[in-house]
């Protein structure tokens, strides 16, 4: 592909950002916004949380809403503590499925993006199919996968990989497509090899979009993990949601929901931090 670049003298001054990335291109603003929060803003955010939790505690008490419709925050907290010995093995299952499925999906997605963007023709052919994978809810495949693999971990891990991989792929590809000919020429003028150009120029250049892809992909992965456990699993937090709701044990049900929210927020915070550290030059 470099032979093709060889004749191109870049136009300076003009920002060359090859647009046209499907999926969430330019989504780094999602990472960037919310950065640099002042102490005052943090205080307000915490205050809102306290008001919501305290307010619902109070209102649910005043109107005597039955526990099976909506438990009080204090009841949810208590359930989380008392039920913890029974919940945590399922939490471990969910996190393992998510991590394994995401690791498989993200690696394949990343490598595919890095390779495919080097071959514009192949990329044009493959992209619609990747889009199909992005837009089709992979959850729908779970019953089919269960028929083939049974109620074990495999169908869920496959579903998670299928849900997160294309997300990582499509965003990373958008990143890899931003070629800056001048920077590649610079590296070549110092004798860089194709591999060095890839590691020292292309990857750092694509990094903001890769991180966006990882973030969105892992959140998609979480949704799919829980969904798959609800549809076809004997274990995991999704399975617990089914179990507690069928038993009408609402405090325990909401305790699981709280755990899922914490996992989701942790993923976001983690990638936000990664973005700050590895791609802060762009924001």
């Amino acid at each position: 592909m470099d032979s093709q670049l060889r004749d191109q003298i870049p136009t300076f001054g003009a920002k060359q950002d090859t647009a046209g990335g499907a999926g969430l291109s330019g989504g780094f603003s999602a990472l960037a916004s919310g950065g640099g929060r002042s102490a005052f803003e943090t205080f307000i955010i915490i205050l809102v949380a306290v008001v919501i939790i305290g307010g619902s505690e109070l209102l649910l008490g005043i109107f005597q809403v039955p526990q099976y419709i909506m438990p009080k925050p204090s009841q949810i907290g208590a359930a989380l503590i008392t039920e913890w010995p029974f919940i945590w093995p399922h939490l471990v299952v969910t996190i393992c499925e998510l991590l394994i499925g995401f690791a498989i999906g993200a690696s394949i997605g990343f490598v595919l993006a890095a390779v495919i963007t080097q071959f514009p023709f192949a990329e044009k052919i493959v992209t619609p199919y990747i889009l199909l994978l992005v837009t089709t809810p992979m959850l729908a495949l779970v019953p089919l996968l269960v028929l083939r693999f049974g109620f074990g971990w495999e169908p869920r891990i496959i579903a998670v990989a299928l849900a997160s991989g294309p997300m990582v792929m499509i965003n990373s590809a958008t990143g890899f497509r931003r070629v800056d000919l001048a920077k590649i020429a610079l590296a070549r003028s110092f004798g860089a090899s194709t591999f060095q150009i890839f590691t020292k120029i292309r990857i750092p250049m694509a990094m903001p979009m890769i991180i966006v892809g990882l973030m969105v992909g892992s959140i998609f992965g979480l949704l799919t993990t829980v969904g798959a456990e609800m549809v076809g699993g004997a274990e995991g937090l999704g399975n617990r949601l089914n179990y507690y709701s069928s038993m009408i044990r609402m405090p325990q049900f909401f305790a699981v929901i709280t755990l899922l929210a914490i996992i989701g927020i942790s993923i976001y915070v983690f990638f936000f931090w990664v973005g700050k550290k590895w791609a802060n030059w762009e924001a």
């Binding site: 060889r6 004749d7 003298i9 300076f12 003028s189 004798g191 250049m205 990094m207």
Partner: protein, 267 residues
């Protein structure tokens, strides 16, 4: 210890040996709209230690010529040599300085300057880098990110990056074209000083007659479509040249002569 080099005299002997030779260079581009004839039979000898400016209108093939000399792309016909070595790919003795500083935005100043060493897999010459940074007035900015530096500072950093690996030939493609007039004068003075101290062979592309006259030992005037050498002019103004030389009658007279030559050609 002087890490940059001994102070030398400024004039280049016309009999100095050829450092780089361009022989009958031609280049055709395959564009979507058809074939573009960018260079037509360009021959040129660059002398050892010379400051050569290439002057010409937009699109006359200046960058095409320089990129070929850098080994960044091939010619359709003709040859380029560094001494006796044919240039067919980038050469460690030749460094290129681009129009914009072309720093990597994700690396700080120091890491940007160490890039060539990293790519060549050698340990950075810290002493030389330090001396060069001091020389161009960037001492203390090592940990700054490119976006925190002004345009002139960025271009100075890119000059340090190229000089750090101690090439003998510097190719500069309109390096100060994007800078404001004051910074540009400053950079021209700096590059003249660096050239006089280091005795590098410099090939410098510009649109500006004043810049070419101010810097060059010789000016190669090119004409467009297809790109050809129209004229090679010796500039015998004494060195070091200060900014004030630009308002002397000798300078203005020469500038007008070059302008007339280009206009004549166009009419």
């Amino acid at each position: 210890m002087n890490a940059i080099g001994a102070l030398g005299l400024s004039r280049v002997d016309a009999a100095a040996p050829a450092k780089m030779v361009v022989e009958g260079a031609s280049k055709f581009y395959q564009a979507r709209s058809g074939v573009v004839h960018a260079l037509d039979n360009v021959s040129l000898e660059v002398r050892e230690g010379e400051f050569l400016c290439i002057l010409g209108p937009s699109g006359c093939g200046k960058s095409t010529l320089l990129w070929s000399m850098a080994g960044l792309h091939g010619l359709s016909g003709g040859r380029i040599r560094l001494g006796q070595e044919p240039i067919v790919k980038p050469h460690p003795e030749i460094a290129m300085i681009f129009q914009e500083a072309n720093l990597l935005p994700w690396r700080n100043l120091e890491k940007n300057i160490e890039l060539p060493f990293e790519l060549k897999k050698i340990a950075p010459d810290k002493a030389r880098i330090k001396a060069l940074l001091e020389r161009v007035g960037l001492k203390g900015f090592e940990t700054k990110m490119p976006r925190e530096l002004s345009g002139g500072m960025q271009q100075r950093a890119s000059i340090v990056r190229s000089l750090a690996v101690n090439p003998s030939v510097l190719l500069m493609d309109e390096p100060f074209g994007a800078l404001d007039a004051f910074t540009r004068d400053e950079m021209n003075l700096l590059i003249q000083e660096i050239w006089m101290e280091t005795r590098k062979t410099i090939i410098f592309i510009t649109h500006s007659i004043v810049e070419a006259l101010f810097l060059a030992d010789r000016i190669v005037v090119m004409s467009a479509r297809p790109g050809r050498i129209q004229e090679i002019i010796d500039v015998d103004l004494p060195r070091p040249r200060g900014v004030e030389v630009q308002s002397t009658p000798e300078f203005i007279e020469r500038a007008n002569a070059i302008k007339a030559m280009i206009d004549h050609r166009r009419a």
